[in-house]
């Protein structure tokens, strides 16, 4: 145990120097990566959004029900007694029993292969719709398969992340983290932003924009109530002088046809300018030329943001939206439109934000606690083991360096609980040395020579050291897997600290002790 081959010494020194090299940028002007501070230390916002999957499912079922209606209208028509979404099913009831076969076969076309058409376990491509036929009741029930729901979920989340990324990037926010979390959530982390309200609005707005003709002939009460003929709906308007407005249910054009949106000024007022693609431009041109003098409504997520009069045909496919805008809100709306609509509604389910002041306070306090804890442990070890205490203290210093180096090199995130993990590691890291030294002490008392006692001490203590550290590593592992947020940072430093402490306390300190024994050849152990 006390003999080290040259290459081993070189390796131990290399690992130590590498750790110090990686740690150095944190406290010296040397170039390189420093420790990645968590949001709780540098300040910033941590937001978790949940995707409204039940809403998406309901929308899909609604779509199925409407498609069924279209299929039944084809010649020869199939009269139905009912066609509605009930719970998680579309329930269709045909009027005549003899139509059952034909209805059932027409509906089959609604079930398509899921997603990319990949094969399921059965070797047959999974399909999107399950049918349940009941001849006696003349009903056919359609529901979405599990495979379809998973496919819808994954696509919805992937698309949402894409849209969120475009929106946040365009808003000028630096270095956001946007990632899927679990099955139906999206995590958005924004360093340095301690007031996340604007981000929440930017991300939480569906931004589905449509243009509808206004129905001035339908009277709307001040409370938003009124008799609406078929094909007409009443919407809230973002204008106090006319809080409700009746519009045609069918949209002239939708936001999907936008190719550009930007904010600018017109007559000193902030406005949003936009441009349609060719399809959008054609539709917009046709409707505006046929309806000069009427008003149209610009609808964003079911709220009318503006309802101007059509002064003449708009043929170029571009225009401006005037509304109740400030420069910032016009800018944000342009960002939203440019980035496209979200495929589903998003709700914030978790928000944690920390201001820069608190973050700095935490860093200061954490650093003081680490330094004082570190010194106290070193004094303690020196008092307990004198010369051997010096060895374990050198090992402890190297240990802290290696933890810092590993955190910097791996670009792991250091959180406030992570600092607690470092302090705890400092206290526990000396355990390996204590185990060894106590054993050496015991062996020396049994009459062994110093070199022999040291040899025995290291070899006999190894199994206990490994067992002890593996159990703590298990705890850190569980915490990492199941823990949330900043607590994970604790698991990271604890885990790294355990690994580096075995190296410093068992390998590095042994090298020191070996060199000491070889150089001084002590007759008696100062232990």
């Amino acid at each position: 145990m006390l003999y080290f081959a040259h290459w081993k010494i070189a390796l131990i020194l290399a690992v130590s120097l590498l750790g110090i090299w990686f740690a150095a940028p944190n406290f010296s002007p040397l170039p390189g990566q420093t420790v990645n501070l968590g949001l709780d230390l540098q300040g910033g916002s941590h937001l978790v959004f949940e995707v409204d999957l039940p809403g998406v499912r309901a929308e899909r079922l609604d779509g199925l029900s409407q498609e069924a209606t279209v299929l039944f209208r084809q010649q020869p028509t199939i009269p139905t007694a009912a066609n509605a979404v009930i719970g998680d099913e579309v329930v269709i009831r045909v009027a005549r029993a003899e139509d059952m076969d034909e209805a059932f076969s027409r509906l089959q076309s609604l079930s398509r292969p899921v997603g990319d058409g990949s094969m399921g376990l059965t070797g047959v491509a999974a399909r999107t719709v399950d049918f349940d036929r009941d001849n006696a009741e003349r009903t056919i029930r359609m529901s979405l398969t599990d495979a379809a729901m998973i496919d819808i979920r994954d696509r919805t989340i992937a698309q949402s992340i894409e849209v969120i990324r475009r929106r946040i990037d365009a808003s000028g926010t630096t270095e956001p983290t946007i990632a899927r979390q679990g099955d139906e959530r999206i995590l958005v982390q924004v360093p340095g932003e301690s007031n996340p309200q604007r981000i929440i609005e930017l991300v939480g707005t569906t931004a589905r924009m449509t243009f509808h003709l206004v129905r001035a002939d339908v009277a709307v009460g001040a409370d938003g109530q009124g008799r609406t003929p078929p094909g007409v709906m009443i919407l809230q308007q973002d204008d106090l002088s006319e809080p409700y407005i009746a519009v045609e249910r069918r949209a002239m054009v939708s936001g999907e046809n936008l190719t550009y949106a930007g904010s600018t000024f017109q007559d000193g007022q902030p406005v949003v300018e936009f441009r349609f693609d060719t399809t959008g431009a054609a539709a917009f041109g046709r409707v505006t030329s046929q309806n000069v003098g009427r008003r149209f409504a610009v609808v964003l997520d079911d709220i009318v943001i503006s309802s101007p009069v059509i002064l003449g045909p708009i043929l170029g496919g571009s225009g401006v939206i005037q509304g109740n805008f400030t420069f910032e809100s016009a800018y944000d709306l342009a960002v939203l439109l440019q980035a496209g609509a979200l495929p589903a509604e998003l709700t914030v389910v978790e928000q944690r934000s920390v201001g820069p002041g608190l973050g700095q306070d935490s860093i200061n306090k954490g650093t003081i606690a680490v330094v004082i804890g570190f010194i106290a442990v070193m004094v303690f070890m020196l008092a307990a083991y004198s010369v051997f205490g010096v060895f374990s203290n050198l090992a402890l210093m190297l240990n802290v360096m290696l933890i810092l180096g590993a955190l910097s090199g791996l670009q792991a995130t250091l959180t406030l609980p992570g600092i607690a993990g470092i302090i705890l590691t400092i206290g526990m890291a000396v355990d390996a040395n204590v185990l060894i030294y106590e054993r050496i002490r015991e062996e020396a008392k049994n009459g062994r020579s110093p070199a022999n006692a040291i040899e025995k001490g290291y070899s006999e203590a190894l199994s206990a050291i490994l067992d002890a550290n593996i159990t703590t590593l298990i705890a850190a592992g569980v915490l990492y897997m199941l823990g949330a947020g900043p607590v994970r940072g604790f698991a990271v430093t604890l885990g790294i600290g355990i690994i580096t402490s075995v190296f410093t306390a068992f390998v590095f300190s042994r090298l020191l002790v070996a060199m000491w024994v070889k150089g001084l050849k002590p007759k008696k152990l100062p232990i």
Partner: protein
């Protein structure tokens, strides 16, 4: 060397720990019963991580004295958000933004609602509180804001319980693998003992029980296991070596041989934790306190619970290879 601690510690102790096992068992059972009683009668003071709701830490240029706390309480109680807890944070560290009494902690209880409505309700409560406070003190600063809906907090409770159970099971498996089942049982009984008593302490003191408490409990589990393994390792060694000695003699010998190590390691860990407790700031105080308590309990349990239990589980005396 005069500095060596050998001088303060008796060279080789021979304290009859095993003889005291019945007293120790009695004490432990009493503590466990008290903990369970406290848990069911007083419950735990769950933090926002597990209850949901809104917590804010605020700071104003002017000192937040009792009058300001009352003023804020008055305004916030008018919002109809249910019970609101307000507490001034006095900070003794110079240079900290909160030095003096410039900061306060505000806790809004979780808002009611069905499904996603409840999630939205928490967000709205947060906005309402911020709007009211900013109107009251235009210079107010929000040092931290946490808003958690019922969904996330519910999941955190589950994950917390899961992580403790998983850790215990993994420890059991590991010890089973390294030693025999008799040891495994002893170790896990000791761990459960530690976990229950630590939770009992949180119930009695009504300290906030949050995610970092779970982290503390898991670390205590790891630490206590660590201690137990060191003692067991020595017991196994002595059992093989002294076949003629009675089991309680062997156990006693092993505990005494590892005693100075047990105490020294606990002390260095405690020294580090005291530094964290006193200097680490409010956010880490609960964690540090839980750890300090847990280390004391964990050290006690590896000596007085884990080892003596081997008298009951009928540990094998023949040399068996692990």
């Amino acid at each position: 060397m005069s500095l060596a601690l050998t001088n303060y510690f008796p060279d080789s102790t021979s304290i009859p720990f095993i003889k005291a096992r019945f007293a120790a068992f009695g004490f432990s059972v009493l503590m466990i019963l008290a903990s369970i009683a406290a848990f069911f009668s007083m419950g735990l003071n769950f933090g926002i991580d597990f209850t949901g709701g809104v917590t804010l830490e605020v700071r104003t240029e002017a000192e937040i004295d009792a009058a300001r706390i009352d003023e804020m309480r008055g305004v916030l109680n008018n919002l109809g958000l249910g019970a609101i807890e307000l507490q001034g944070l006095s900070e003794l560290t110079e240079g900290s933004e909160c030095y003096g009494n410039h900061c306060a902690l505000i806790r809004v209880q979780p808002q009611e609602g069905e499904g996603l409505e409840a999630e939205v309700a928490q967000q709205e409560a947060n906005l309402a509180v911020q709007a009211a406070l900013t109107e009251l003190y235009p210079d107010i600063e929000y040092r931290s804001v946490q808003v958690l809906g019922p969904k996330v907090s519910g999941e955190l409770v589950q994950a917390g319980i899961m992580s403790i159970v998983t850790a215990l099971v993994l420890m059991l498996v590991y010890i089973w693998f390294r030693f025999e089942w008799q040891y495994s049982v002893g170790a896990v009984v000791a761990l459960i003992h530690d976990v229950i008593i630590t939770i009992g302490m949180f119930s009695v003191t009504q300290l906030e029980f949050n995610l970092s408490t779970i982290a503390a409990i898991l670390t205590i589990v790891g630490y206590s296991m660590n201690d137990t393994v060191v003692v067991y390792d020595r017991i196994r060694e002595k059992i093989r070596k002294f076949k003629k000695k009675s089991l309680d003699e062997v156990l006693n010998l092993a505990i005494n041989k590892t005693l100075s190590r047990t105490i020294l390691t606990s002390l260095t860990t405690l020294v580090a934790l005291f530094s964290l407790w006193l200097l680490g700031g409010a956010a880490l105080q609960g964690f540090a306190f839980a750890m300090i308590f847990g280390i004391v309990v964990g050290t006690y349990s590896s000596i007085f619970v884990a080892a003596p239990i081997l008298m009951l589980t009928n540990v094998k005396r023949e040399a068996s290879e692990a």
